[in-house]
């Protein structure tokens, strides 16, 4: 009998262990997928760098051509031996000036970095700057999203360790895990336990806050770009609406204050005026249905409106 129980325990442990290993494999796949995603972004940035490098190569070829031309001029009779050689000196100066920039540009990721740091110029200066700000904010947010995803993977990974311990402890006692549902419930319990510890930590709160702020930055920068577009078509923007709403609120407060003053002076408060009554306001509501905000039936008693 004892042997049979031991076998049962072992079997119970092995299928649960298999499930845990499957979850680990899935977590590993998720981590790899994230890494691949980051890699594809890197590839995009390499494309930009590739384009930049082509420009650098073109520039180098152009300078080499100029150099050849200058050497040809320098070898001619007008050059006359040891005198000044302006074209060559000029080209040397150009070359020195550009080689520094190009060496930066040809470093890994350098061209994009160089472009990002170069202030936009010309007719579309403002638009370029706004779009660049969007790109930078997006990159920042995605970086933080990946950090958060890594934290959540860590939570899940630690939860699996805890789950493994509990499954073993129960298999060793008189309460082995009997089925998938039980295992799943135990997994949720372990996951929430590990997550709770992480969620209460200062580091997690900081990361959450940073991610929230980064997403707000991205949103604000996108709003700027969109508002630029709306203005092109003479359409109202959120900023304009905000301005109107602020003015409206101030006006309402002023009206309410005037009402109160009037009431205090005995000119009759706003409340004593006949209230505007609509069917919607003066309704008797019966139990509503999901999907409807509010249902009304026939008027029973007039509702009143009042200004504040």
């Amino acid at each position: 009998m004892g042997d049979s129980s031991a076998t049962d325990d072992a079997t119970s442990l092995s299928w649960a262990q298999q499930w845990i290993e499957q979850q680990r494999a899935l977590l590993e796949q998720a981590a790899q997928a994230d890494a691949a995603h980051a890699g594809s972004k890197q590839a995009g940035s390499e494309q930009v760098n590739g384009l930049g490098s082509q420009w650098v190569d073109l520039g180098k070829a152009y300078l080499a051509g100029l150099m050849q031309m200058a050497q040809g001029l320098g070898a001619g009779p007008a050059a006359g031996g040891a005198g000044p050689r302006p074209p060559e000196e000029m080209l040397e100066a150009w070359k020195a000036a550009w080689s520094n920039a190009m060496s930066q540009a040809t470093a890994p990721g350098g061209w994009q970095e160089l472009l990002n740091r170069t202030p936009p110029l010309g007719l579309f200066r403002e638009q370029t700057e706004a779009w660049r700000a969007v790109a930078a904010a997006r990159a920042d947010m995605e970086r933080l999203e990946q950090e958060l995803a890594a934290v959540m993977r860590r939570v899940q990974s630690e939860a699996l360790v805890l789950l493994e311990e509990r499954v073993k402890a129960r298999a060793g006692g008189d309460n082995p895990v009997q089925g998938f549902r039980e295992l799943y419930d135990l997994w949720v319990q372990c996951s929430e336990q590990v997550f709770s510890t992480v969620a209460h930590s200062a580091a997690y709160a900081h990361l959450q806050g940073e991610l929230g702020n980064a997403s707000m930055r991205l949103r604000a920068r996108m709003q700027k770009v969109i508002e630029q577009g709306l203005k092109q078509f003479d359409l109202p923007t959120r900023s304009e609406l905000n301005s109107v709403h602020q003015q409206l609120r101030l006006l309402k407060q002023k009206v309410a204050a005037l009402d109160q003053k009037g009431a205090a002076a005995g000119h009759g408060p706003a409340e004593s005026r006949p209230p505007p009554v609509s069917r919607k306001q003066a309704s008797t509501s019966r139990p509503a249905s999901a999907g409807t905000k509010r249902k009304s039936s026939a008027a029973a008693r007039p509702a009143r409106k009042r200004s504040r």
């Binding site: 049979s4 129980s5 998938f180 799943y184 949720v188 306001q281 509501s285 509503a288 249905s289 999901a290």
Partner: protein
Amino acid sequence: MSTPGFDSKQLVREINDFNERLARGMTALAQTGEIRIGSAEKEAVYSEDKLVLYRYRPIVELPEKQRVRTPLVICYALVNRPYMMDLQQDRSLIRGLLQRGLDVYLIDWGYPDGADRYLGMDDYVLGYLPNCIDRVIELTGSPQVNLLGVCQGGTLSLCYAALFPQKLKNLITMVTPVDFRTPENLLTKWTEHVDLDALAATTGNMPGELLNALFLGLMPFRLTSQKYVDLLDHIDDPRALENFLRMEKWIFDSPDQPGEMFRQFMTWMVKENRLAAGTLELRGRRVDLHDVSMPVFNIYATQDHLVPPSASVPLEKLAGTRDYSSYAFPGGHIGIYVSGSAQKEVPTRIVEWLRKRDG
């Protein structure tokens, strides 16, 4: 030591059973149709901007002695919809109060939109709420009202009670945060590093969906996964399924929060804890909880993960009243309204407490 035998066929059976339930679940869900919400009849007695003040129709005729003469106004939170107070016939705090002879009014804040984004706490505490209470006083002829504040609505009610104590006969707070800086308060911790000014500036109103995501994030495995797996256990019970869907509707029917109100509430109350510190000012008027002089009944839930008891309990020391009572309900933030035990326990305690203070 005897060990329960392990049957590998059981696993197969379990998987098959799960699949069958899943298939039946799909059919059952497709057949549920429209879910009805609310049970008690009510009528609108006042409206202002998006808010509507309702009076619930009495459902019993009680002898004068057993009635609570002072009307009760329920001030719900801006988060989620107030129909949680009257979700269905057998899950309704309001119905429980009506059955015990209370005259019940409820403030429904509505669904704020872009035009409401600059509404501040002062608009609620010094505008909307006083107007509703004045209207009830005017309608009933009662010189005072009883005020029941729920969650964030409780916090607003405390501010009102401190500023207009003469208007309130009694104050009841339910799952109401007062001290926002206690160690158990996870939402406070998560808010710590958030730039709330930028949040309000870029989102305008705080989207309800964003708040929902935040609430789900407090217990992500339980609330986004296990809850739905558990549903399969009741998939053959149409009533249980309907109850589940009704709750689901309530949970995700989240109005947006007026941006400025949200910014002020989160900054002043949550981050700076001004209510507990006694440093809150609205339009130049200091909100001092020592001025809450009427009897106070503070009801909180022992397993509340949104408003932990440690956030509610400090009211006893902070409020100026000499008549303070509390009730620790054994359940969670939602269970206090919808659980079976809450249906009898909570309204009974409220009405008994009010009856003793209705003279």
